[in-house]
Symmetry: C2
């Protein structure tokens, strides 16, 4: 009798559940609350207001090995709205990366993604665009979808808070760069090498950081048509591990950027063979070939004094409130937190690496080290110098 009741109750709990929409994110600690572990970030002092995430729109361009996992992470985090762009279909050859399942073979990647993601979290608003952004028509739809403010009519700037580029070729990256420069839209770029064992993420703020055209990849600097390098039928290697790590680092920095915690890393590389993670910063190129970038650079320089003053004021206010109310008040171990920005600083720049793009088209990540290492920092104030290095390398 007892075992029968147990069997029946087991059966009852294993009946498929489609989770219903949730009006407000609750911090209640019960098994049935899909947001309890995220809202706990507030109690732990990591995020001030987690529920703000429902206000944000993120566009993901390219729903492949990195983009699909990034989309799943943001969906599970309860992002407000996701815009997904891809023109490709799911193939069995994609099964060595996370996310897509064999029964989705033949569906478009955008449709398959929305099918899976809306099952996982029906609270997220999805928009799927099955199009190629590098075509004239595709670019127009891409631009107007980014400008559309119907999700949050009071939002400043464009209709999205961040664009994530998860595409696998140079041409598509240049199109995302063009759109974001025109719209003054902050975006993050990601990539994985053709040999599958290195990758990177990069933050691009128009006018403030180098744009994708400011520091052209090696092959372009040397005059080779990049499009000939990404040939049909040439099979690049890929690994779910590398792509999972890159997607995780990308969305982690997305969360830090949107929810205002930790430090958003300007550029982060991942060398899987050595578990080496170079970081650096890149300033914009005053001779950039992209006219929209030059316009953003001018605007940025004009507003710089006011922005610096506001940032200083904010930092002072934060320093003051931190003195008044320490984050970890219940410090039973008597631990004092010391500033370890020096540790982080020594990580930045000790590597002597060159900007993103240099590795992507090349056989191994080790070519990084073939270039003269800078002892101090990897910030390139003068992109001309970099260009000369590239030319010297490819001549």
């Amino acid at each position: 009798m007892r075992s029968r009741i147990e069997n029946l109750s087991n059966l009852a709990t294993s009946v498929p559940i489609h989770r219903s929409k949730v009006k407000d994110m609750s911090a209640e600690v019960v098994d049935s609350n899909p947001y309890s572990r995220l809202m706990a970030l507030q109690r732990m002092g990591i995020v001030e207001n987690y529920e703000r995430i429902r206000k944000f729109s993120v566009a993901i361009v390219g729903i492949g090995g990195v983009g699909s996992v990034a989309a799943e992470m943001l969906t599970r985090c309860g992002i407000g709205r996701l815009l997904l762009y891809d023109y490709d279909k799911v193939e069995l050859a994609n099964m060595n990366r996370l996310f897509f399942r064999p029964e989705q073979v033949g569906m478009t990647k955008t449709e398959a993604a929305v099918q899976t993601l809306s099952d996982i979290n029906p609270d997220v608003v999805f928009e799927n665009y099955t199009l190629n952004i590098t075509t004239v028509q595709g670019f127009e739809t891409f631009m107007s979808s980014l400008k559309n403010k119907s999700f949050d009519p009071n939002k400043e700037g464009s209709g999205v808070d961040l664009v994530l580029s998860c595409v696998d070729n140079y041409e598509a990256r240049m199109v995302v760069n063009q759109a974001c420069n025109e719209l003054n839209q902050t975006w993050m770029e990601s990539g994985v090498s053709e040999n599958a064992v290195s990758g990177h993420i990069q933050l691009l703020v128009p006018g403030e950081t180098a744009c994708f055209a400011c520091a052209p990849p090696l092959v372009v600097a040397s005059g080779v048509d990049e499009r000939t390098l990404k040939r049909e039928g040439v099979c690049a290697a890929s690994l779910p591990t590398t792509m999972g790590v890159v997607a995780g680092l990308l969305v982690q920095n997305t969360l830090k950027y949107l929810l205002n915690f930790g430090q958003v890393t300007p550029y982060l590389g991942y060398n899987a063979l050595k578990d080496f993670f170079p970081t650096m910063e890149m300033k914009p190129n005053p001779q950039c070939s992209n006219s929209a970038c030059l316009e953003r650079q001018r605007e940025y320089m004009l507003t710089k004094p006011a922005r610096d003053a506001a940032a200083r004021e904010k930092m002072e206010a934060e320093a003051l409130s931190a003195t008044e109310c320490p984050i970890h008040a219940e410090n039973e171990w008597n631990i004092s937190v010391v500033d370890d920005s020096e540790v982080s600083g020594s990580d930045v720049g000790s590597s002597g690496v060159l900007p993103e793009g240099l590795t992507r088209e090349l056989p191994t990540a080790d070519v990084y080290t073939d270039l003269p290492a800078s002892d101090e920092t990897s910030t390139f104030d003068d992109l001309e110098e970099l260009r000369k290095q590239l030319e010297a390398l490819s001549s």
Copy 2:
């Protein structure tokens, strides 16, 4: 008529496909080959013989936020056999991490995992153990399943090639440690902090590296019963990003270990707030409380001279063959690869961090920096010194 044919053919391709088993891994570049992007690792000179992966058995203990993603990655990579251990059921509160879906709520994690994974890749042999390894009965089953050699009767040592610990508490880690010390089984440990913004992976080779009992976590060193810290109802924060990154780093190092490429990292930390990745090595503690560990240490010391000689011989042979046949023969960019082990070396040890376990029970990853930083390297030859530091910290 034309659009009707198009509709019909679209429909035909979108009919659910359950992928059939594949006898041999093919490197053929066609959309229908699930292994083409993995076999490409051979052509790219990264892995010598990728198909060897089908010979390997990996045991994953704990199928939660890290373990489930690790299992999916290994499944998609075409691992030979996966042994999965967990006693928990899927809850809606798990939906903020990757892998499990709302319709699986109520199923055991092991059953839900095998359901999803065998759909993704029917070539993998799955064994699911719904049990708690910290019980007497559970430990016995755990041990005998690791010893079972029916998958590869000629295999040396135990029946598995690697154990991945993806559990969320100290007690279970100590049980995995006990089993692996007894079986002389190499394993990897992983963990994510309760505030969700840091994590680590660690390689443990009995006798050669510190075991989990060699360097006890802070709370144990200070005499607090750790079990009281992992209370029911206390809701730790978690993020799909941090867990995805840790799972990716864990399985990447698993692939490097099994398929013999790159460098397996002994310990790798991940500080998500700063994108900082400390590395270090830990030698075994000659005063370790675990008697099986002491036995492995004795064996290791006895066989060390012979092993060193063999390693030297192998390195010399590899250096010779590398001179005869460079990996990147078609070097159209005239790029010469220089040794950048110094770069990697400067990353190791500059951080002054302390061993795994110190952070897990503490509020933030910043406590790392509260401890005296070593200028040279983080290898602790004398664990006694570390123990004194721990005691000083908690007194």
